[in-house]
């Protein structure tokens, strides 16, 4: 286990992200509505730089919504810039996929500093 500094926590506002290097790859660190999340910058689809994509919401519906569409997860949907694959930034899971997910890392806040545990 090692910890990589990702800078002061208060420098990363909700909706913002930063990147840290680990070995030969990058990890994206996100403030998702006040919670810090970290994911490897590699899409499980074709290995594109997923963490560099737009943060958005998405359209969904189900029996629970009586099959009406809703714009949901606003600020929580990460779109891989290569093929627009959608991930839930809160969990790293591909939205309604086959169980694919971004490799996730624990983020610790220690004395106001962010650390990614690798």
């Amino acid at each position: 286990m090692a910890r990589i500094s990702a800078g002061p926590a208060d420098a990363l506002a909700p909706g913002e992200r930063t990147f840290v290097k680990h070995r030969n790859f990058e990890i994206g660190v996100f403030n998702v509505n006040g919670n810090f999340r970290a994911y490897r910058n590699r899409c499980p689809h074709q290995l594109g730089p997923a963490c560099e994509g737009a943060i958005s919401g998405t359209l969904m519906g189900s029996a629970d919504t009586d099959w009406q569409l809703e714009w949901v997860l606003d600020g929580r949907v990460l779109l891989c810039p290569w093929h627009q694959v959608e991930f839930d930034l809160d969990t790293g899971e591909r939205i309604r996929g086959l169980g694919e997910r971004l490799r996730s890392y624990t983020v610790e806040v220690d004395d106001g500093e962010l650390y990614v545990v690798v």
Binding site: L47, G48, P49, W82, H83
Partner: protein, 371 residues
């Protein structure tokens, strides 16, 4: 947007030829090369709003999907030969075969004189500003279906240059289909020059294949049909008129349809051929005999949950010598070469698909990679 972070690819022992990459053929780029009467037209069209892959000034493609925010990757385009070389380097691609962006829908232009002028301007622009053996960028002469005689002249003119290695047959909206006898001059010229013909479709709303796609509200369900249906319709049309029997040395390439539709065409047509052989009197063999000699590019490569299924699929049509890697860079649905490299094909099949088949097909010498 470009591929900002190239990732390692196991490629040291193979050459990668990408048979489908796209140049951004804007009206302002083509204007200096077009016949005088149309120069002012292209200057004017340059000022008009344009959408992704639309022919500027024309509504051959319609934006009918619900626009969602932040989904903008479709805007990627390549504007110069230098940018293409850099992008292909980032993808670890050694050689690229160039196709247009906007002229993908040119077969549906109703003005045949204008269409032919655009085709000549595109070929001249490619020759002057894009193709280069040193950069591994090769052109496909566009054969404007609205004017087959002019297309044949263009094929003979540019096909004489080493940097032009194929003939692009616009397939979206072509009417009549490519098997029609009016196109015979194009196939004669391609066969004479030894150039493969390459069919490439795209989505559009038009009364020709791929037609009726406006009935789908979303690209999700429209997109898998628009390429494959157009390719299939034109393949059947060309078989119906016995193009591969009449031009036995003509190589025929089907691009941007993936490979999983190919076994269907062989098995279904052979089944029909049992009953209806007399309706294809010029074919000397069952349809599958010819289909096994066609070429198919990989993109959009299928991504089955069991990758071995794709290997089985290739074996179904003896595709090891007939399949050509393509990325479709820079389009929204491009495949990274690694996606095909990582499929569990045997090593010799990977070398063929990723480059050797294309080098042989197009008569390109294997490039020596610097460094």
């Amino acid at each position: 947007m470009t591929v900002t972070a190239p990732r390692p690819t196991t490629r040291d022992d193979l050459v990668i030829v990408d048979v489908d990459v796209h140049v951004n053929d804007t009206p302002e780029a083509l204007a200096p090369y077009v016949d005088a009467p149309y120069r002012r037209v292209l200057d004017h069209i340059s000022t008009l709003p344009r959408r992704y892959l639309d022919i500027p000034g024309y509504a051959l493609r319609l934006a009918i999907d619900l626009p969602l925010p932040d989904r903008g990757a479709g805007a990627r385009s390549v504007h110069t030969a230098q940018q293409m070389r850099e992008d292909l380097d980032a993808l670890a691609v050694d050689v690229g075969i160039l196709f247009p962006d906007h002229l993908l829908t040119m077969a549906a232009l109703p003005d045949d004189v204008y269409a032919a002028a655009l085709g000549r301007a595109y070929n001249a622009w490619l020759a002057e500003e894009w193709v280069s053996r040193a950069d591994g960028l090769y052109g496909a002469v566009v054969a404007v279906p609205q004017d087959p005689e002019d297309a044949a002249r263009e094929i003979r003119r540019y096909g004489a240059l080493d940097e032009f290695v194929g003939v692009y047959l616009p397939t979206a909206g072509v009417n009549p289909l490519w098997g029609n006898s009016r196109y015979t001059p194009i196939f004669e010229a391609a066969a004479e020059m030894g150039l493969p013909v390459m069919l490439h479709s795209v989505g559009l709303i038009h009364a020709a294949f791929p037609f009726n796609v406006e009935q789908f509200r979303t690209i999700l369900f429209r997109h898998p049909i628009q390429h494959e249906f157009a390719l299939m319709a034109n393949m059947f049309s060309m078989l119906e008129s016995a193009i591969p029997a009449r031009f036995p040395d003509l190589r025929i390439v089907f691009t941007e349809g993936g490979i999983s539709w190919v076994p269907f065409t062989m098995w279904r047509l052979d089944k029909e051929y049992h009953e209806y052989r007399s309706m294809a009197p010029l074919l000397e063999h069952p349809p599958s005999h010819y289909i096994r000699k066609f070429y198919f590019s990989t993109q959009p490569i299928e991504e089955p949950e069991r990758p071995q299924d794709l290997v089985t699929m290739l074996d179904m049509f003896d595709g090891a010598d007939q399949v050509l890697f393509a990325s479709d860079w820079p389009h929204h649905d491009f495949d990274h070469p690694r996606q095909v490299l990582n499929m569990p094909f045997p090593a010799d099949v990977k070398r063929k698909i990723m480059g050797e088949n294309a080098l042989a097909l197009f008569g390109i010498d294997a490039p020596v990679r610097a460094g």
